[in-house]
């Protein structure tokens, strides 16, 4: 928090005991604890970040159910409406900028890094807000088929996407993938960074107040290796976004996911990039979580006017 000299004396009562926050998950617009009742305590440089829910297989299932039930409605919103909601998330994140910088500090980022990460996260939301009603114009097409048909291809959201967030950028990493996933009308379950979950968990509070319909974004905390298994197995997940560096332990987990994902041919998208680069934001990330749908419609050819046009 920025120290405001004038108000500091009234704010900082030395004997005061701070009220600690209970970190919970975010599922279907609500903030439940894990049904398993378990917790874990991630540490940065030996210092505890607090207790977080150690999510379970059943939590994954509940989050998928919430995401699925929200999906059709979210996809049916106008793209203008989705654009405004993404922009609204940016507005609220900007309003809580200092808190999110503090969270990143707490999780080991320097002041400068933290500030840059939060600012870039806000910009990124605005960037994808702008894409909501434009990607279709860039990727869609009217196809000049050699028959009397009107033939049009558009992008449609895949459905429910399970997103595995990175450790190195616990806020920017989440937003850089969450925003393009939901921009087209997908809903998502984000598994927060296991070692640095605060940013994702607090982002849930922003989402909950930013007109994002319940279930569009769900945020789970817990062990990657444990929760990746039910996610990769789940038949109601359409795609998995793997958003982590390519370390040795990660490699094994990713391979497991890719193998299991074949059960219902989940699309597995791998992102191992640093999200701080400007080129890392692009509309192809939206297309990554879309299917292409082509519609044919006949054109009547009778009664040509012959008017010379």
């Amino acid at each position: 928090m920025a120290k405001n000299k004038k108000s500091a004396p009234t704010l900082m009562v030395p004997s005061r005991i701070p009220v600690l926050k209970t970190y919970k998950m975010f599922v279907g617009g609500e903030f439940p604890r894990t049904e398993s009742g378990r917790f874990y305590t991630p540490r940065v440089k030996g210092r505890s970040l607090g207790n977080f829910c150690l999510g379970s297989r059943k939590d994954v299932r509940q989050a998928v159910a919430a995401a699925r039930s929200a999906q059709a409605h979210w996809a049916n919103r106008t793209s203008y409406n989705r654009a405004q909601i993404l922009y609204r998330i940016a507005e609220l994140l900007e309003a809580r900028r200092l808190q999110f910088i503090q969270d990143l500090n707490h999780q080991g980022s320097s002041e400068r890094q933290a500030q840059a990460e939060v600012d870039m996260s806000i910009e990124r939301l605005v960037y994808y807000a702008g894409w909501c009603d434009k990607y279709q114009q860039v990727f869609g097409s009217v196809n000049p088929v050699a028959s009397e048909h009107f033939n049009v291809s558009i992008l449609e959201p895949m459905g429910v996407v399970f997103h595995i967030a990175p450790d190195n950028q616990p806020l920017l990493g989440v937003i850089s993938i969450m925003a393009p996933i939901i921009a087209s009308g997908n809903t998502t379950i984000c598994l927060a960074s296991e070692s640095k979950p605060i940013s994702a968990v607090n982002l849930a509070e922003v989402l909950a107040t930013a007109d994002v319909p319940p279930g569009v974004v769900n945020i789970l905390t817990g062990s990657l290796d444990e929760l990746a298994v039910p996610a990769a197995d789940h038949f109601d997940i359409n795609a998995i976004a793997w958003n982590r560096s390519n370390g040795r332990r990660n490699k094994t987990t990713l391979q497991m996911i890719e193998e299991k994902a074949t059960s219902n041919l989940k699309r597995v998208r791998r992102y191992e990039r640093p999200w701080t680069r400007l080129e890392s934001q692009n509309p192809y990330l939206i297309a990554d979580f879309c299917e292409v749908k082509t519609t044919w419609h006949p054109i009547e050819t009778i009664s040509e006017s012959g008017s010379g046009y």
Binding site: V126, W131, D133, K134, H297
Partner: protein
Amino acid sequence: MNQSPENQWPLSPALESQDHLQLEKSYGLFIDGEFVSSTGSKKYASINPATEQRLSRITESTPQDVDVAVRAARKGYDRHWSRMKPSERGKYLFRIARLIQERSRELAVLETLDGGKPIRESRDVDLPLAAAHFFYYAGWADKLDYAFPNRRPRPLGVAAQVIPWNFPLLMAAWKIAPALATGNTVVLKPAETTSLTALRLGEILQQAELPPGVVNIITGHGNVGKALVEHPGVDKVAFTGSTEVGKTIQASLAGTRKRSTLELGGKAANIIFADASIDQAVEGVINGIYFNQGQVCCAGSRLFVEESVAQQVIEKIKDRVQSLIIGNPLDKNTDLGAINSRQQLNTIQEYIDVGLAEGAIRYQPEAPLPDEGFWCRPTLFTQVSQASRIAREEIFGPVLAIQTFRTVAEVIQKANNTPYGLSAGVWTNKGSKIFNLSSQLRAGVVWANSYNQFDPTSPFGGYQESGFGREGGLHGLQAYLDIH
């Protein structure tokens, strides 16, 4: 006043409040980020066309004012706008969109007071669309490389924008938003009868902290617009208005390097086939010609009905016209408000006389009209010939010319028999017929089983004498970019 005499269930007045609207007695010009006085002293009254009462006094800009505004726009371009990161430009536009949303009711009331259009239209159409335009183009600011792949799109510089009185704020948004998103700066001249919402937009630009000179707004009559588009410091001219003025502007640009886009008049064909959902089509016809008292360049002013259903359709249209509510534009029940100016009312009445003189049969409902203000009953003509002036010339009022047809070939030929080509409507339940018609109609926009649909993502503009260039959508960006 609000009901036809035989209406047994009169509606109570439902007036939109105007308490929250404060108007200055007199307005200056918005130049270089400030409201400033003219170098001259001429002012004229802006009146409420529904009451003929004065709302405020507007500045008649001098040629010197025009020069100052263009220089301010150049400075705004050189010092601020062309140097700014595209994503930052976008953020200003997002701000403007949000501020318009926040102040939308105030602006809607002002639009209705100043222009005479029903509050229901200014509230539900003009204002939401104006905000949406800024919101849509805001997002393009940092994405232009995706709109024009393998090009390096560059702004043109200073854009001179002259807009009409039928959708004052919305036309300002259509013009300003894409110009700013692509990195240009602007001098805007609203129409002389409807400058108040544009001037209020100046306040919004100040609230948004838009850098000075990026948008400048000057007021006055046609000669001000002329001085603006002919100013040598202008790189691009964007005009919406009559075909006649559009041609004059184009002539004045001949031999210069200025780029231009023109959105001009129209004489749209609205075509009903026998297989259409008739009630839905009738509603579309009413909306097509009486929306904004018919003062719409894309108004469906020529109706073509397939002969087998013509009698039925015309009867239904007459019934529907009879139920339209004409009166106080601030009343939320009002369907038709006031005509924008006495001059325009005279033009419309002349055309109605022409129609009668040419032997067409007129129908008007019997609704009483208010004593003060400029009013015209919704009017339709049957027995109209292709050669009739009311079927050929743009009236820009609530006057519908009805003709019939027997075959698809015939109606396409009749519909295309016009120098205009802005829009068209097709009513049929057969999809393949829609695509046939839409591929053969010479018009920039074809509405199938709908009419007067607008969206910032969708390009709008005409063929041939309806002008050139498109506004809206990805295509609307090109009007403000050098991609060669």
